[in-house]
């Protein structure tokens, strides 16, 4: 995707935050032939050059483009929810330069041709980079392992059954063991379907008051704890896609201390909302795993700050209005998130829970390292995936203005602070300018 035809671009006088080098200083960045040529304070004093577009970024932050490790796109099969084109537009507006799309499509991405299709389709239609995760089991049905080696050859970056947990311990054990040969990353959705049962929101007092069946956090921890035992026995690489409760954090901490090759993500929704946001049955806050209590939210934020949780994802799950305009129990899970992830994350910085560099790291370098991608850094020679954002610009989230095809945002009408001014993918400006 590197655009060698785009004119050279010099961004100056911005606050450069690059977690890979620990850089956090005012300066500039020079982009040429789709890669980063130079970075540093000295670029602010560069004399104008022929063929180089200069952009003053005073008051703004210059950071690596965001890498969103969990995005549901409706292609193939559910184009009414989201296409690569619309997802790309939304991602670019949200500062996301790489989307990792999930394999739970119709049909699921469980063989080489389907991964190949997605890669081609994304290349043709999507203005940001797309890397697919492949299904971990055939048909995402939880039974037979997919062709991990062949899928990797055509570009799968990890293996998961998307929003469905692989409950069969033997399947996880084999996948971890077999995956070792390919350095495969096994991504698990930690939610035991039996323990979730009919549960549609966090089990506890609030669910009881609303008369809604509860889904206990135990459903998550039971799977994670079991999987850690399997990981210890089998070796391999494991990533817990979404952590939502403090009990899971204890399990994760122990596993990391024991030296297991495990990483974890958290959705921006679980960092910014709690179960009370469901209010009077607001279906845009119906998620899987469900939003938990405020104590749990704070524990997640703290775990993210300390690095126990590695990655923030948007968990972008576009749902068309008809699947949300239902009673709470019947409504679909999921929230659109590409366009609001960064702004929502800045709320945590504003609240003093998180430093800006750590926020950026969790959305850029951390996922890139886990997925072995070259992005997520402003190092010289790295692909020029760069964003410029004003960390304070106020705006109101208006679903009508959103670029994604589905408007199911929990930030509906919310006041946000911080907005992307420019998104550059491989040297080419795809948003702002």
């Amino acid at each position: 995707m590197s655009d060698e035809t785009a004119p050279a671009l010099l961004l100056t006088h911005g606050r450069i935050i690059d977690p890979a080098s620990g850089r956090d200083e005012t300066g500039g960045i020079l982009i040429e032939n789709g890669v980063i040529r130079d970075v540093g304070p000295h670029l602010d004093h560069l004399k104008p050059m022929n063929g180089v577009t200069v952009r003053h970024c005073a008051g703004a932050v210059i950071a690596p483009g965001l890498v969103d490790m969990r995005v549901f796109v409706g292609e193939p099969g559910e184009e009414h929810r989201e296409t690569f084109r619309t997802a790309g537009l939304a991602a670019a507006a949200g500062g996301i330069t790489t989307m990792i799309c999930q394999p739970q499509t119709l049909p699921p991405l469980d063989d080489a041709p389907s991964i190949d299709f997605v890669k081609r389709r994304a290349k043709d239609r999507c203005i940001v980079r797309v890397h697919p995760m492949a299904a971990l089991t055939k048909g995402c049905a939880g039974g037979e392992m997919t062709e991990i080696g062949l899928l990797k050859e055509v570009g799968a970056v990890a293996y998961t059954d998307g929003a469905r947990a692989v409950t069969n311990a033997q399947v996880i054990r084999r996948a971890l063991t077999y995956g070792r040969m390919f350095d495969a990353l096994i991504v698990q959705h930690c939610e035991d379907p039996d323990l979730v049962g009919e549960g549609v929101m966090n089990e506890g007092e609030f669910a009881a008051r609303l008369g809604l069946p509860g889904a206990p956090d135990l459903a998550e921890t039971v799977i994670l704890e079991r999987d850690m035992r399997l990981l210890a026995a089998s070796g391999g690489r494991y990533h817990a896609a979404l952590i939502s409760c403090s009990a899971s954090l204890d399990v994760l901490r122990k596993a990391k201390e024991a030296g297991l090759n495990v990483t974890a993500g958290v959705s921006i929704n679980h960092l910014t909302f709690n179960e009370n946001d469901v209010g009077q049955y607001r279906t845009f806050f119906k998620l899987a795993p469900p939003l938990r209590t405020e104590d749990e939210r704070l524990a997640l934020v703290e775990a993210l700050a300390s690095g126990l949780i590695d990655v923030i994802v948007s968990d972008h799950n576009p749902q068309d209005v008809e699947t949300k305009r239902l009673t709470f129990a019947e409504a679909a899970n999921g929230a659109a998130g590409l366009e609001t992830m960064l702004s929502a994350g800045l709320r945590l910085v504003e609240a003093g829970h998180l430093t800006l560099p750590r926020l950026i790291e969790a959305m850029t370098l951390a996922p890139s390292r886990i997925l072995h991608l070259p992005s997520g850094t402003l190092s010289v020679g790295a692909p020029a995936d760069v964003i410029v954002f004003d960390p304070e610009e106020p705006w109101v989230c208006d679903p009508a203005e959103m670029r994604g095809r589905s408007k199911n945002t929990p930030f509906d009408e919310a006041r946000m602070a911080g907005r992307v001014k420019a998104t550059i993918v491989g040297g080419r400006t795809v948003f702002g300018g």
């Binding site: 089990e203 506890g204 007092e205 609030f206 669910a207 009881a208 008051r209 609303l210 008369g211 809604l212 069946p213 509860g214 206990p216 009077q280 049955y281 008809e322 305009r325 239902l326 009673t327 709470f328 129990a329 019947e330």
Partner: protein, 353 residues
């Protein structure tokens, strides 16, 4: 006074002197006082809500005003001429997404006694099966310009959702495991008339607390009126977080109903059984079914209630259900009165009302 004598006589005739003592005549002597108050001072209270979606959100004066109004409706319902005109010209739609006999009949009678045109719609076997959503149904009905819609739905929050899409007043006739406000009001009215008061009474709500909207509405309503509420049921049929509601919780029925004034039994939702919550109805009856032996642990003048329909031999024995201490038939009568009161209170707020 004539009524009180009749009522007491009926109890005496059926059960003899022991029960007369047990029930305490004093409580029945309050009836005429309530009559007089309501007849002489027609309530000028204006109900401050457009809809009745739940007991949650009602204040104690709201509840008491409805009960007072309902007392008047009881008088009306006992006359030969049972008609009023307060809803004349109004259209009432009973929209039931879940089968119901008694609640629907009760609302229908209530509306007709107040002079409304009542239409019954059982959606369980029409549009819903054709894929029409709740909101579509609401919009369709709204276009027919009803004044009051009574809704029962199998999903919690459904009535709230519907109320946001229509212009008329909406009454919740039961939404999933959430609320069933008119049931709680009729239960409160029944208790108040039988005991003369609610404040300070020990009320044990027993059985499947988890799946029961009747329990939800009743615990809020009774607590608001000053009763001491106990929740009694098997551990697996208590929702998580219930301990934070602030009520006493018992898993031993004998302890739970000891010295209670009112025992409110809940229907065991057998369709939800299948060995997953309790092993069998036989075992359930053994530990949580109300029979004479367990009832003897409550106060001698304790009264037994059940929202119906009953599973005889599962949560309640036939002896108790039909016995002298049972208020179950009174509940049904109060149901019509309370629903009339609710319809009337909401109708007063309707445009041109």
């Amino acid at each position: 006074m004539g009524y009180a004598v009749f009522e007491t006589a009926r109890y005496m005739g059926k059960t003899g002197a022991a029960v007369k003592r047990a029930l305490g005549l004093g409580s029945f002597c309050l009836y005429p006082i309530i009559f007089d108050m309501s007849i002489n001072q027609p309530s000028s209270y204006v109900f401050p809500h457009k809809h009745l979606l739940g007991i949650e959100g009602l204040s104690r004066p709201d509840i008491e005003a409805l009960l007072e109004l309902a007392d008047e409706e009881v008088i009306l319902s006992r006359q030969v001429e049972k008609k009023k005109t307060s809803l004349r010209g109004r259209t009432q739609i009973n929209l039931f997404f879940e089968p119901s006999t008694r609640t629907q009949a009760s609302f229908e009678l209530a509306g007709k006694r107040l002079g409304a045109d009542v239409m019954n719609m059982s959606v369980a076997n029409s549009s819903a099966k054709k894929g029409e959503t709740l909101i579509d149904t609401a919009m369709t009905l709204n276009a027919m310009r009803p004044d009051l819609i009574i809704v029962r739905h199998h999903a919690a929050g459904a009535v709230q959702l519907l109320s946001r899409k229509v212009d008329c007043s909406v009454i919740n006739a039961g939404d999933g495991a959430h609320e069933h406000p008119t049931q709680a009001l009729l239960d409160a009215l029944t208790i108040k008339r039988a005991k003369g008061r609610i404040e300070g009474l020990v009320v044990a709500i027993c059985g499947d607390i988890m799946h029961s909207r009747v329990a939800r509405s009743n615990m809020i309503c009774l607590a608001a009126l000053g009763a001491r509420v106990r929740l009694v049921g098997p551990t697996t049929l208590m929702p998580a977080g219930i301990e934070r509601f602030g009520f006493e919780i018992f898993h031993d029925m004998r302890e739970g109903i000891r010295d209670a004034d009112i025992i409110m039994m809940l229907r065991l939702q057998r369709e939800r059984m299948h060995g997953s919550f309790v092993p069998s109805t036989k075992e359930y009856f053994r530990y949580f079914g109300l029979d004479d032996e367990k009832l003897a642990l409550a106060k001698p003048d304790a009264l037994v209630m059940h929202p119906g329909p009953m599973n005889r031999g599962i949560e309640i024995s036939t002896d108790v259900a039909d016995g002298a201490q049972s208020l179950i038939r009174e509940q049904v009568e109060m149901g019509v009165a309370v629903r009339m009161a609710v319809l009337e209170a909401l109708a007063r707020r309707l445009p041109n009302g």
